[in-house]
Symmetry: C2
């Protein structure tokens, strides 16, 4: 007997059969006594098909207002089909587009922010025992223009609805059955986490565990909406993502997971003047090129000079090196060099806050396996190291073992 928002992504509603399967899941939830609002994405492939059409129309720069009108049809198709599937199973259902709800956003087409949600019509339907089907990813601005929240925005729609409606949980159905201690393809003993905090999830997500959209997790944290990740295809409780409250801390492990990112490249601007503004003079123009920088690291300088190092996505490596070399004189740098065969490896856990010595345990475990650390950065609940890409799997497995993340076995 709970009031739930359930969100199904493009893969979960990718075919007529899968939509029917989702309808059955929803009817089962309804029959067990839950009230359900369901948020759906476009059928997988549909958004890409529409984007390709738009590109054919406007090869250079696509008009964002019209792109939103186009893309929003993707979810509209899904809500209608899912509502039909529910009715076919004998359950009352009603679909809503973003405009119909109405999910009011600002006017930033293709990356709109939700301002307000009108809960009255949905609550009215819920009280009448209906399942309410809402198009994710889309909204409407004050002047009635259709807006979209950007890729993955359906997660955000779901969390925003759960917050506005005061739901007990926002359940995100995906093609994985939860959040794992690390990638099971790298460490077969990786274990599904029953619980994780919003902060940990943010660190895991931004480090490449692409289960949830970062923005949705931030949103859920901000409004304290319990989030649950679970599988559309297999039964199970998934992973619950909640506030880092005292109750949770009691049972908190030191380290919750091992995250990594294969696609990094490291660039060093060596021997630049150690003076105010040097970081901006290097990174400002790179941001202007619309290149995202991940790790940034600058050590104490000597003789008025310092080395400045950062990482970018591997695909941008050549472009950044070339750009910096063209500006080498201007920057007064002795050397521009880098490496695009590196990866980032991190341990994440709120338990770190209250426990000393986690970092040294990490470094020792890696050293014991002969892994050289090229860079180290730390935050409150995360320690990241940059290592040679050849050592990634070894690194993940040694840390997974060091912090006892594996499934407990009979013999242990």
């Amino acid at each position: 007997m709970a009031f739930l928002v359930k969100k199904f992504g493009g893969t979960s509603v990718g075919t007529v059969e899968r939509i029917k399967h989702v309808a059955k899941l929803l009817v089962a939830a309804k029959q067990s006594g839950d009230d359900v609002v369901v948020v759906v994405s476009a059928m997988s492939g549909e958004t890409n098909r529409l984007v390709a059409l738009a590109r054919e129309m406007m090869p250079a720069v696509v008009d964002v207002r019209e792109l939103d009108v186009l893309l929003s049809t993707g979810e509209q198709v899904t809500i209608a089909l899912l509502a039909m599937a529910l009715k076919e199973l004998g359950v009352e259902a009603r679909s809503y587009t973003g405009s119909q709800v109405r999910i009011l956003t600002d006017s930033s087409h293709s990356k709109a922010r939700i301002i307000n949600i009108d809960k009255a019509p949905i609550m009215n339907d819920i009280e009448q025992g209906h399942i309410v089907v809402v198009a994710g990813f889309q909204g409407v601005d004050e002047r009635g223009n259709i807006t979209t929240l950007g890729r993955g925005g359906s997660d955000t729609s779901a969390v925003a609805l759960a917050a506005a409606l005061g739901c007990d949980e926002c359940q995100i159905y995906t093609d994985v059955d939860g959040v794992y201690t690390t990638d099971p393809r790298v460490e077969s003993r990786a274990r599904r986490l029953e619980k994780i905090t919003f902060e940990e999830m943010l660190e895991m997500a931004s480090l490449g565990s692409k289960v949830l959209q970062i923005r949705a997790v931030e949103f859920a944290g901000k409004y304290n909406v319990p989030l649950r990740v679970l599988s559309s295809f297999e039964p199970g409780d998934g992973t619950l993502i909640t506030l880092d409250d005292e109750e949770n801390q009691m049972e908190q492990a030191l380290v919750s997971g091992i995250a990594f990112n294969r696609d990094e490249a490291q660039i060093t601007v060596a021997g630049v003047a150690d003076k105010p503004g040097i970081a901006y003079s290097i990174l400002g123009p790179i941001a202007d090129l619309n290149i995202e920088v991940d790790v940034i690291l600058q050590n104490i300088g000597e003789n008025g000079l310092t080395d400045f190092t950062f990482t970018v996505h591997r695909d941008e490596y050549g472009r950044v090196i070339e750009f910096l070399k063209s500006r080498q004189d201007e920057l007064g740098a002795e050397l521009i060099h880098g490496n695009d065969r590196i990866v980032k490896l991190s341990i994440v856990g709120v338990g770190m806050r209250s426990h000393a010595g986690i970092a040294s345990r990490m470094f020792k475990a890696l050293a014991d396996n002969g892994i050289n650390l090229r860079m180290i950065t730390t935050s409150e609940i995360k320690i990241s190291v940059v290592i040679d890409e050849n050592f990634l799997e070894l690194g993940v497995r040694s840390l997974h073992e060091e912090f006892e993340l594996a499934e407990p076995t009979q013999t242990s």
Copy 2:
């Protein structure tokens, strides 16, 4: 320098290239000084694809509210793509769904009637020099539910917009270059009509010249919106459909066109009591079967008995004969018989009203060619005969010649 609504159907916007072609036509009109509101249908095939998806979801009876949510995405895709194509050509354009305009309808999903159109936002855009792109076929009811006007409803949307906005003309672009005196595939000398009245067009349309939706013509006639049918693919003035005013009558031919319908079947209930209510007792139950009846004919009876004859679509012939035979005793009919190898052939023209002898010229022309008339019915501006299907082409050509409808040639 005119204010025009231009409507393009599914075939005219069936591919990216065709949408770009439509955009060029519109830009040319704009550059020649016209103000343009354009109404578009779903890309050809899209509506059928969506209907098929709906049928997969609800094989028996599809929920009409959700079907409208689904189908309305078809035109929404087209408006966005066309607006993009226009912007790519450097013209300001803005798309509107039915809800956005807003085209207010009643709540009869899948066959909604337009109640009101909010002209302010469109006029505002037009004043700013924009081309306004509106989704045809769709509207919104008072409670914000998406509605559709039924198949071919885009023509109706276009006419309704032209009426609401006070446009000079509503131009319907199709894959033919106008309305012809008869089907050019049957009579190669068929001539494009420069002008025709609404009433004539209604008679032509209902008789099988499937250029325009009947409902749109009725609507245009009611609000006196000049309609023009023209080709998306070939330049030309098309055919203007206007009120039957005095100016038009001056130059009116006696007969404007020869219409025909190949798909008819004739059924006779012979020897029934010639008493009040007999027509209803035969046709009422047939209407209940959702079978449309075209020609209905009952002659003066003898000895208290009469023969009652009507035509239906050829596909329904077997079903109707079987049904009537099962009720033969109840009806007290001597015989139920029929013929599914017949066709209906008609001459249409407002000129008939003021000229006697048109009917006899028609009958003589057919008799001279050895064509036997099985049934005759007449209205104010139309005379129809039912003949053996083998004589259709001969009949069309003889009447086309009799009423001098062919293109004038050098030698005549």
